[in-house]
Amino acid sequence: MAKAWTNVKPYLLATPQAIALGLFLVFPIVLIGVVSFWEFNGYSMTPAFTLDNYIGIFTSDVTLKTYLNTFKFVGLTWLFTLLIGYPVAYFLSFHVPKLRWQVLLFLLCTIPFWTSNIIRMISWLPLLGREGLVNQLLVGAGLTQQPLEFLLYSDFAVVLGLVHLYVIFMIAPIFNSLMRIDRTLITAAEDMGASGVSVFKEVILPLSAPGIAIGSIFIVTLVMGEFVTVRLMGGGQAASIGKLIQTQIGSLQYPLAAANAIVLLAVTFAVVVSILRLVDIRKEL
């Protein structure tokens, strides 16, 4: 009896979470898959099995261009979060002396993550606008005659906003893997005459690759379906696949939106799998 209870207990304990995720994550995504084959007659959707929604996506120039633009955002955001995130994580783990300070400065980087994304984006408006602080300073200093228009409501602004919002997702895993590097390995490499650059290239970089991979997965998945930043920072100009789906939902074209979402999911999944092929992240989990 007691043994049976011990065997059943973990299942009972895990059930609420399994139900919550099943009901609000798995079931809805399965439904997206089902609805993506349904028909849409201009007003409502009807159960059917048609590939029209998918054919529509792959034959539409607009959709394909939107995908390309989304990849551009993903690529640029990934590049800049890595270029900013790595040195920050490196500084924290190798140059800040005490653990207490390392944790404190790391927390300083994470605090904005717990605050509102919307507010964080709105905060850029008074800086980047036509009348914004940056333009005032540039014109005032005589660096430009006209206020720069591309600072806000442009692809530049979108990437800036995305990097600002998500860079912590790159810093945290890299910081984590840098902190795990056995410091004696570095001393050993130095003792054997390795220069600072080669210590970094031969020891530190390979050992932090899993952190980079995890950070990259976060960035790809976060940016792939992004539509809020694209809308707020890009104005009406910028396009992304997430925004396209949002527009389709707005006009109740659920089957088309669903087909787009399935393609988006497949693409995202493919990218994640290829990252996992390149780098073994199991050591980090």
Partner: protein, 270 residues
């Protein structure tokens, strides 16, 4: 201590610039929200005052903040209670091996990294197909759970990883039942962390936007109301609201941190 190298100074400057990049924009809206009645959306600041902070609580031409704020508080409270109990329970389950544990673990990770538009669309489709109306307390609640539950769960896993099981074993050897062991041994020991996790869950829910955006139904939560305002508000009241809600989040994080520190110190000194 080693002599500091050039790279230290370069990286320190880089880090400083990064912190400015991270917090700078936030500080500009703090400043712009502290303007007098003649304030505008851009610099220069003509006069300082707290006029706009007060305006937030007045009836607005476009939208009203008080009700969405209350809604967000209630929703955050429900989410926090659900997430705290579910994540503790699931993390306790994970202290043993059981069939399906790997699947549930990866499902939680997937919930975190699935593009958020899919969650929103999926819930929208589900409620559409079921012919249920979308509401902040039903579909909105579901959207919040997909985001907050896995985060809390992963933190709780880490906490139970460092948890010493010998106290529980001792309690059980002395004849305590499972529920007694949990209430009198496990819960007090994880309480500081649990409070911290709960407050962080609350802030995540309070600030959640993307996943809820398409499924909140007729009545907006606060972030949705703010988003709606960005397109048509032309006064610093928007910044004032941003300042207030950010300060609210900051204070929750600060309370979470202090509680955690104080309670874990108490435990050490006992």
């Amino acid at each position: 201590m080693k002599k500091r190298s050039l790279s230290f100074y370069l990286l320190a400057v880089f880090f400083g610039l990064f912190i400015i990049f991270l917090y700078g924009p936030m500080i500009t809206i703090f400043i712009l929200s502290l303007q007098g009645p003649d304030g505008t959306l851009t610099f220069p600041v003509r006069s300082f005052g707290i006029y706009w902070l007060g305006q937030v609580f007045q009836e607005q031409r476009v939208g009203n903040f008080v009700e969405p704020f209350l809604r967000s508080l209630v929703l955050g409270g429900i989410v926090t209670i659900l997430v705290a109990s579910m994540s503790v329970s699931a993390a306790m389950a994970f202290r043993q091996r059981f069939r399906g544990s790997t699947a549930l673990f990866y499902l939680s990770i997937a919930s975190l990294i699935v593009p958020s538009i899919l969650v929103s669309l999926g819930l929208g489709v589900m409620f559409q197909v079921m012919q249920w109306p979308t509401r902040w307390y039903s579909s909105g609640l579901g959207a919040h759970l997909t985001w907050t539950l896995p985060i809390a769960f992963l933190i709780m896993l880490g906490i139970f990883n460092r948890f010493n099981p010998s106290y529980e074993e001792a309690a059980r050897d002395l004849g305590a039942s499972d529920s007694n062991t949990f209430l009198e041994i496990v819960l007090p020991l994880i309480a500081p962390s649990l409070i911290g996790v709960s407050l962080l869950t609350f802030t995540l829910s309070y600030d959640e936007f993307t996943r809820t955006s398409l499924v909140s139904g007729q009545y907006n939560t606060l972030p949705l109301e703010i988003f709606g305002m960005t397109t048509n508000v032309t006064s610093p009241a928007l910044y004032a609201l941003g300042t207030l809600t950010t300060l609210f989040s900051f204070s929750l994080i600060a309370v979470a941190y202090t509680l955690y520190r104080r309670l874990s110190k108490q435990r050490l000194s006992k």
